[in-house]
């Protein structure tokens, strides 16, 4: 279960529209209590994907042929540089604000995880996908990788009113 505010969702949609026709990507930061994740910040990250044979062959879905996706660029892929991810993890240790998951857009494509999304996904993280059709944000969905890595399951989410977010945050600080 992930909880986030309408403002967070808007930030994701706006980012997706801004980078259209390319994919956008970003990180969800916040708190974890048991099975509950609460997003405190949605932060845009740079999509540094560059087509490379290595990338494509390493993520070849079953049945695909080498080179099939060779000409695909940022309009169909996103990649966060490992350095940026490393920096986020360092920040996570410093601030105790957890990396809860990531979001990215599917330009002119449904908000459903692809084989590539699954291939590259880590367990536990929440993956939010926003479909952007002809430059306008459309469906938005949230997913989590199954333990056997074979499929994604839809993650339930709850919209918090922005003041609820504030109250939650204050409550935590008081504790």
């Amino acid at each position: 279960m992930i909880r986030l505010s309408e403002a967070h969702l808007d930030a994701i949609r706006t980012h997706g529209a801004a980078t259209f026709p390319n994919e956008c990507c970003g990180v969800l930061l916040g708190d974890v209590e048991g099975d509950h994740k609460t997003v405190r910040e949605v932060r845009a990250l740079a999509n540094v994907f560059e087509p490379s044979a290595e990338f494509e062959t390493s993520v070849l879905p079953a049945g695909a042929e080498p080179g099939e996706m060779a000409e695909v660029g940022q309009e169909r892929r996103y990649f966060v540089s490992p350095q940026e991810m490393f920096a986020l993890m360092q920040e996570e240790r410093r601030t105790k604000r957890k990396i809860l998951g990531f979001y990215h857009s599917h330009p002119n494509h449904p908000a459903r995880p692809s084989a590539y999304d699954r291939e590259w996904a880590s367990p536990w993280y929440t993956y939010i996908i926003v479909s952007v059709m002809d430059g306008r944000p459309a469906d938005l969905t949230a997913w989590q990788l199954d333990e056997d890595r074979k499929a994604f399951s839809a993650e339930t989410w709850e919209i918090l009113q922005s003041n609820e977010v504030d109250i939650e945050a204050r409550r935590r600080e008081e504790r």
Partner: protein
């Protein structure tokens, strides 16, 4: 010993903790130790082959171990190793396809004229909205060159002519042979011995008298290729050998023409459209020819007769699509067909930036010597050379057999060839086994080697010579010569 920092995502597999102290002198040892301690974690770090998963990065301090010594990077007690997952993904579908454009300009198409007879003839095209009168006129205006009127060329030019392609060029200097008729359906039994060009022209004229057929009765070579190709819109590769295939590719790249490629072997075929201006060329796919002799020709390996019909029709289909400017051409895609499995597969091809003829740094700017490029000249100069004293003719062999000499004649062909035709009294040892089975042969007696035409047996002779055999003879012309000169009841194949 090192401290390993576990990302939140994987902490559930590492006892819920975010850092662990693990023994080991290198990254490999530490990660192995970690995997041993937490087997659940292992499958998220390593793939089935035991390699680090491609989305797992490891940092020592603030440096990616790939910039250090990778898994062999040494670690000390004060070092921190961070496991950093790669964050990537994206929608799966490729880019939308570009709109196809006809290779025939609107003006040329509009200027073509169709008689009433032709309109009736092409009726079934004209009522297709994707073709209609405009497309049929483009077909009439189009000039398509087919290199070779053999297995692939035969069916495809028949269909091009029937479809109303206005000008069809054919390059072929061969004559029709009985063994061609199993698949080269443009020629008939009555044509055996005639020039393929004559026979092909006759068939095409019969199918469609409105088609102009231009024959180039010469070997397609570096000398004539540019002048032959320059006036055509599309080139179709119906060649059966590597030098001509590379030549066809190169001349098309240099002149900016689309090259509709097809090739066949036994039960398998390939087809693609190589067009350097819009996608990869043949050299992007195969930068170098295979060593001579490695890939057998159809004459050596055989081919299912219907196969070139299927592949040739695919080529005709692609040529017609390029002319009409409809559909999705085979540019950047290699179609693989298996007649036994009845299966089509497709490989996406990409342009090779380092391609010597269509890449960014071109080293080939004019036609080269393709015989030499394919290593064939060298093979001809020093082939399986056999001394004249090591040769025996079929007449000599027959005479010695008739005298009742006890001769050892070894047939080095394959068993299925032996079943078709053989010289009496020979023993079968296929070429591939000649060395390992040389123990069956007595080095002190004379050994006569024989195959279909004398080439493979020359190879066998040299191999045995290298094994120390000295009394060897190669039968000139093989079982084919035996059939011609000694016993016509032995079939030729």
């Amino acid at each position: 010993m090192a401290r390993v920092l576990i990302p939140t995502a994987l902490q559930q597999f590492a006892g819920g903790t975010d850092e662990l102290d693990i023994a080991g002198a290198t990254v490999q040892e530490v990660l192995d130790g970690l995997s041993a301690q937490y087997p659940e974690l292992k499958k998220h770090l390593f793939n089935e082959k035991g390699e680090l998963r491609h989305f797992v990065n490891v940092y020592k301090g603030s440096e990616d171990i790939r910039t250090l010594e990778d898994m062999a990077t040494t670690v000390g007690d004060d070092d921190e190793l961070s496991i950093v997952p790669s964050i990537a993904g994206g929608a799966g579908a490729p880019k939308p396809l570009p709109e196809p454009v006809s290779v025939i300009s609107d003006e040329r198409g509009a200027n073509a004229e169709l008689s009433n007879d032709e309109i009736l003839r092409y009726s079934r095209h004209l009522i297709l909205p994707e073709v209609n009168l405009e497309g049929q006129k483009r077909l009439k205006a189009a000039k398509v060159l087919c290199i070779g009127a053999g297995g692939l060329g035969s069916p495809l030019v028949l269909y091009l002519a029937a479809a109303g392609v206005g000008t069809i060029g054919i390059v072929d200097f061969d004559t029709v042979d009985m063994t061609n008729l199993q698949r080269q359906i443009i020629h008939g039994t009555k044509d055996v011995g005639r020039l393929k060009m004559e026979s092909a022209k006759e068939s095409l004229r019969d199918i469609n008298p409105y088609v102009e057929v231009i024959g180039f009765e010469e070997q397609f070579s570096s000398e004539n290729a540019m002048s032959i190709v320059k006036d055509f819109d599309i080139v179709i590769d119906g060649t059966d050998n590597f030098p001509t295939r590379y030549l066809t590719n190169d001349v098309c790249v240099l002149l900016g023409k689309p090259n509709v490629y097809g090739s066949i072997f036994r039960f398998e075929g390939q087809a693609s459209v190589f067009w350097a201006e819009k996608g990869p060329c043949y050299r992007c796919l195969y930068p170098e020819p295979p060593p001579p002799g490695l890939v057998p020709s159809c004459a050596e390996g055989g081919v299912l007769g219907v196969l070139p019909g299927i592949v040739g029709c695919i080529q005709a289909n692609e040529a017609i699509k390029l002319i009409l400017g409809i559909g999705n051409p085979l540019i950047g895609r290699l179609l693989l067909f298996n007649a036994l499995k009845m299966q089509f597969r497709e490989l996406k091809l990409q342009k090779d930036p380092s391609c010597p003829i269509c890449g960014t740094n071109r080293t080939i700017t004019e036609l080269i010597d393709y015989q030499e490029f394919c290593g064939i000249r060298g093979e001809e100069a020093a082939p399986q050379a056999v001394e004249a004293t090591e040769e025996i003719t079929v007449k000599e062999l027959k005479a010695r057999m008739d005298r009742g000499e006890a001769l050892t004649v070894i047939d080095v062909r394959e068993p299925y060839e032996y079943a078709i035709a053989r010289i009496p009294g020979t023993k079968l040892i296929p070429l591939g086994q000649i060395e390992e089975r040389s123990g069956e042969l007595d080095p002190n007696t004379e050994i006569i080697l024989q195959c279909r035409t004398g080439k493979r047996s020359a190879d066998a002779l040299n191999r045995l010579k290298a094994k120390g055999f000295t009394r060897l003879k190669n039968l000139v012309g093989g079982v084919a010569a035996w059939s011609d000169e000694i016993d016509p009841t032995v079939p030729k194949y």
